[in-house]
């Protein structure tokens, strides 16, 4: 670990966020992302996973949302109110939910958009598009094709490759599994974990598929109705009844069924 | 502020159907009504009546009309001036060629003709949305301007394109002075406002609002979207048509196509944007605001004896309205009505909210 930098690359303290000035989407969310780790953010639809990521990357501002209280500290400095483009230059890059590739542009052009707009030179993690093609050989064969011609999995690769070319220190991934076949999902997660290990990239991934996400992460947080309701080492989480019941599809003990955990998760039923 | 409003819910069905829920408010409305009918015409001079109040009331009808289709049903329309022209020319043709028909009925028949035009040009709204629809109503605007400037049949083949309106009487009273005109317009405005308010409280209004807020959801709930949209266009155009007829017959006393140009369409759009989209009262507030602003601006330049010629004043006015519209769209999209609502809330809890 480099000296002089805090151990936590990112920490959120009591962050609340609203949409349209009034719709509360996050309530007192606190979480920390240690340098070099891969963190999973679990939770059902509407629990605030996407909002949490967009709060960090401040893409929230494009959705008419804003942070109402709390602090977000990145690399020891508060980043509240910085423009999304500025945050990308500082190394916070998000892969949006649903991939969101530039469908009418070719694979090459998709990657070039990111490469062209990244000015920082101090933390380059990939040298250029060729390195991305080395990661994802199937993209290399189709580099002059329009992205709309590519399959869902390949589009996800383009989205991740594009994000890497923005030279992130902290990569935010929103539901990389969305709409992909189970086999592809684990492949994508293996790739992501691989990026985390080989490039030393810190990753925060929001995911509904808890079993895959936990399998490949160091640490997990659980979001419910806009608040963090649980968190811990992956091994602990895999053993916790709440996660087992709500996310892994395992029936809880009878005793647990009457417990408090269930009331917090009755959105599932 | 004046009386207690907390925990006063309607206790019977007929209570909940009232337009004005609280009896104190009803008393205020009654006093205001009497003031408008008795005091205003007594104290207001001829100038205030004929140059401010009458055009204000007439354009309020048009603003309500546009608000119905744009604020409630969510269908953009740039053709208000055109619909007003249809109303005006139809009334003129009827009044001059079939004098047996009472003149007020002519106004409403003019509105009916405008409603037909509204249905015809609302048809594209079944296939088109947002801008496309705005363009198609713009088409109607330009078509109407052309039609009423080229086809002299509409103004009885007079040599001049601007014809004067013959004197007319209502219920045996000849409408000549500003006071008679004022009462006539007041009566029509009252009827049409009441109708609009009630219509928007009924299933018709709720249907329109459902379509405005989410067309697909509305369709899935079993609302016939095409029928409701055409209905909105028809009723809206009816209001605009009546307003157009009154504009010529009562206010201008002449009929010429230039009084129904695209400028008036914009003026009325500004009224509802500034007053408040989707509120009937907002139409009145917006109309008053848009009409009074130039008067105030003029008065200010005169009072300060600024060395500005009239051309520059009108340019300034244009800039001013542009800035206002941008401001309201960006900062206060629900218009002055929303501002008033906020003010009211503050006043109600005053002085407990001081410092908050």
């Amino acid at each position: 670990m480099q000296s002089g930098l805090p151990e936590n690359m990112l920490s959120l303290t009591n962050v609340s966020a609203v949409y349209m000035g009034s719709i509360l989407a996050l309530r007192n969310v606190s979480l920390s992302v240690p340098r070099g780790s891969m963190i999973a953010l679990l939770g059902p639809n509407g629990s605030g996973k996407t909002t949490t990521l967009k709060t960090i990357s401040n893409l929230l501002s494009l959705d008419r949302g804003r942070v109402t209280k709390g602090s977000i500290v990145y690399e020891g400095k508060p980043i509240h109110g910085a423009s999304p483009a500025q945050l990308v230059q500082n190394g916070i890059v998000q892969v949006l939910e649903g991939r969101r590739c530039f469908l009418g542009l070719t694979v090459d052009e998709n990657l070039a958009v990111a490469a062209n707009n990244t000015r920082n030179t101090d933390h380059r993690i990939v040298s250029g598009a060729e390195e991305i093609y080395a990661f994802f050989p199937s993209l290399a064969r189709q580099r002059r094709k329009k992205v709309e011609m590519l399959s869902g999995g390949e589009q996800q690769m383009v989205a991740i490759g594009r994000a890497l070319l923005a030279q992130p220190k902290l990569l935010l991934l929103d539901e990389p599994s969305m709409g992909l076949a189970p086999k592809l999902v684990s492949q994508i997660f293996e790739t992501i974990r691989n990026l985390n290990r080989t490039l030393g990239l810190t990753i925060l991934v929001a995911e509904q598929n808890a079993s895959v996400a936990l399998k490949h992460s160091d640490y997990g947080y659980i979001l419910n109705n806009g608040s963090v309701t649980g968190g811990g080492e992956v091994a602990e989480l895999l053993e916790s009844e709440e996660v087992k019941y709500s996310y892994l599809g395992q029936p809880p003990d009878k005793a647990q069924r009457q417990g408090n955990d269930l009331s917090a998760t009755n959105w599932m039923t | 502020m004046l009386y207690r409003i907390a925990r006063r819910l309607p206790s019977s069905h007929s209570d909940s159907l009232r337009i004005i829920a609280r009896k104190e408010d009803r008393a205020i409305a009654l006093v205001a009504g009497l003031f408008i009918l008795l005091v205003v015409p007594a104290i207001a001079g001829d100038y205030v009546l004929s140059a401010l109040l009458i055009p204000f009331l007439i354009l309020s009808i048009a603003a309500i009309g546009l608000n119905l289709v744009m604020g409630y049903a969510g269908q953009a329309s740039l053709g208000t001036g055109g619909f007003m022209a249809v109303g005006a020319y139809t009334s003129y043709k009827l009044a001059t060629n079939i004098p047996e028909i009472p003149i007020v009925l002519d106004f409403f028949l003019g509105g009916l003709a405008a409603a037909l035009a509204g249905i015809l040009f609302g048809l594209p709204s079944l296939r088109l949305k947002a801008f496309y629809l705005a363009i198609s109503t713009l088409a109607f605007q330009f078509f109407a301007e052309w039609l009423f400037s080229k086809v002299s049949w509409f103004w009885n083949d007079n040599a001049s394109g601007v014809v004067s309106i013959p004197a007319f009487d209502v219920l045996g009273i000849t409408i000549e002075g500003p006071r008679q005109s004022y009462y006539l317009v007041c009566a029509i405005v009252a009827i049409m406002t009441l109708a609009a308010v009630n219509l928007m409280r009924s299933h018709v209004g709720r249907r329109w609002m459902a379509i405005r807020d989410n067309e697909t959801a509305a369709r899935l709930m079993g609302i016939s979207v095409p029928a409701a949209k055409l209905q909105a266009f028809a009723i809206s155009s009816f209001y605009c048509g009546v307003a157009g007829a009154l504009w010529s017959f009562v206010y201008l006393k002449t009929l010429g196509v230039s009084s129904y140009s695209i400028d008036i369409s914009f003026k009325i759009i500004f009224m509802i944007v500034i007053g408040g989209m989707g509120t009937i009262l907002g139409s009145f507030i917006g109309a008053a605001f848009v009409l009074l602003m130039p008067v105030v601006l003029n008065a200010v330049t005169v009072a300060l004896s600024l060395p500005i010629d009239t051309g520059s004043v009108s340019s300034l006015e244009q800039i001013f309205f542009g800035v206002l519209v941008i401001y309201f769209v960006l900062v206060e999209p629900r218009g002055i009505m929303h501002l008033l609502g906020k003010l009211h809330k503050k006043l109600v809890s005053w002085p407990l909210n001081i410092g908050r």
Partner: protein, 297 residues
């Protein structure tokens, strides 16, 4: 019969060439719509603003080309102001409120133009040829033909800019998906300023050409509004659509006016383009080259 046909061809050609003028405005329109999703009603006002500013500057006794050069920073300033005062506050607003805001903008621009430069008709002359020449038996106006050439150069320039420069690529990315573009470091503000600036330049060129043809006068605003049916016909997002749409609108309004208009009292150009566009839309709602948009529930 042959005479008739020859006349028809002449009318058609003059209509097509007028249509190119509409295409010019429409191109600026499409640029703005693609990049910032704003249906810019103020396009006509921008044309008038650019042309009047140019004439006003040359009124100080400057060469016309030099004045045009000086107008360019004015258009840049306009783009910058539009971005900081309107666009950045309107991210994700409904299309209709954006549209309303541009109506407001057009009022501001028209008012400013008249306030600063007055509302008279100014002549603008920058040396476009005005003679006619004959191909076969058909007269062709040299002026209109040079306009077509200017349009071609402009479009070629835009294509090169968008397809072969880094900034152009960023603009295309924003047009595809602005949030995704931001997520990889594209600055929306910068892109919007650039697009509105380019549209401003297109407006300047349009204003010069039209000013040379009709004189610079407030009525230009209304004529420029005909870009609306043009882009509606061509599809909101397509530059080829804007060009073909302009040609169709130009030709159809001229043909209608010459062969049918007199029976209706003439001056039908004020509404025929709109009706043509709407009738076309009823058949194909996305326009000639427009992408079919999938509405989200």
């Amino acid at each position: 019969m042959f005479e008739d046909f020859q006349f028809f061809v002449e009318v058609l050609i003059s209509g097509l060439l007028t249509g190119i003028l509409y295409s010019l405005v429409a191109i600026g329109f499409v640029l703005i719509y693609k990049a910032s999703n704003v249906f810019n009603f103020a396009q006509g006002a921008m044309v008038l603003f650019a042309a009047t500013t140019l004439v006003g500057i040359s009124g100080f006794g400057l060469n016309i080309w030099f004045s045009a050069l000086l107008t360019i920073p004015v258009m840049a300033l306009l783009a910058y102001l539009v971005e900081i005062l309107i666009l950045r506050r309107m991210v994700n607003s409904t299309p209709i409120s954006m549209f309303m805001a541009t109506i407001g903008l057009s009022f501001v621009l028209l008012g400013l133009t008249q306030l600063i430069w007055g509302s008279g008709v100014h002549l603008l002359e920058f040396g476009l040829p005005s003679g006619q020449f004959i191909v076969g038996d058909v007269f062709i106006n040299q002026f209109d033909l040079s306009v077509a050439a200017i349009c071609a150069i402009l479009v070629a320039g835009l294509v090169i800019f968008f397809q072969h420069t880094k900034v152009g690529l960023s603009l295309r990315a924003v047009a595809e998906d602005h949030q995704a573009a931001v997520s990889v470091g594209v600055s929306l503000s910068k892109v919007w300023v650039i697009v509105w600036f380019i549209a401003g330049i297109v407006c300047l060129v349009t204003g010069m050409v039209w000013g040379a043809k009709l004189g610079v006068q407030p009525a230009l605003n209304l004529i420029a509004l005909k870009a609306l049916p043009v882009i509606v016909l061509g599809g909101l997002t397509s530059i080829p659509g804007a060009i073909v749409g302009g040609l169709i609108i130009g030709a159809s309004e001229k043909l209608f006016e010459v062969f049918l208009g007199s029976a209706f009292g003439g001056a039908t150009e004020s509404w025929v383009p709109y009706v043509v566009a709407i009738l076309f839309l009823l058949v194909k709602p996305s326009g000639l080259f427009g992408s079919t948009q999938i509405g989200r529930i």
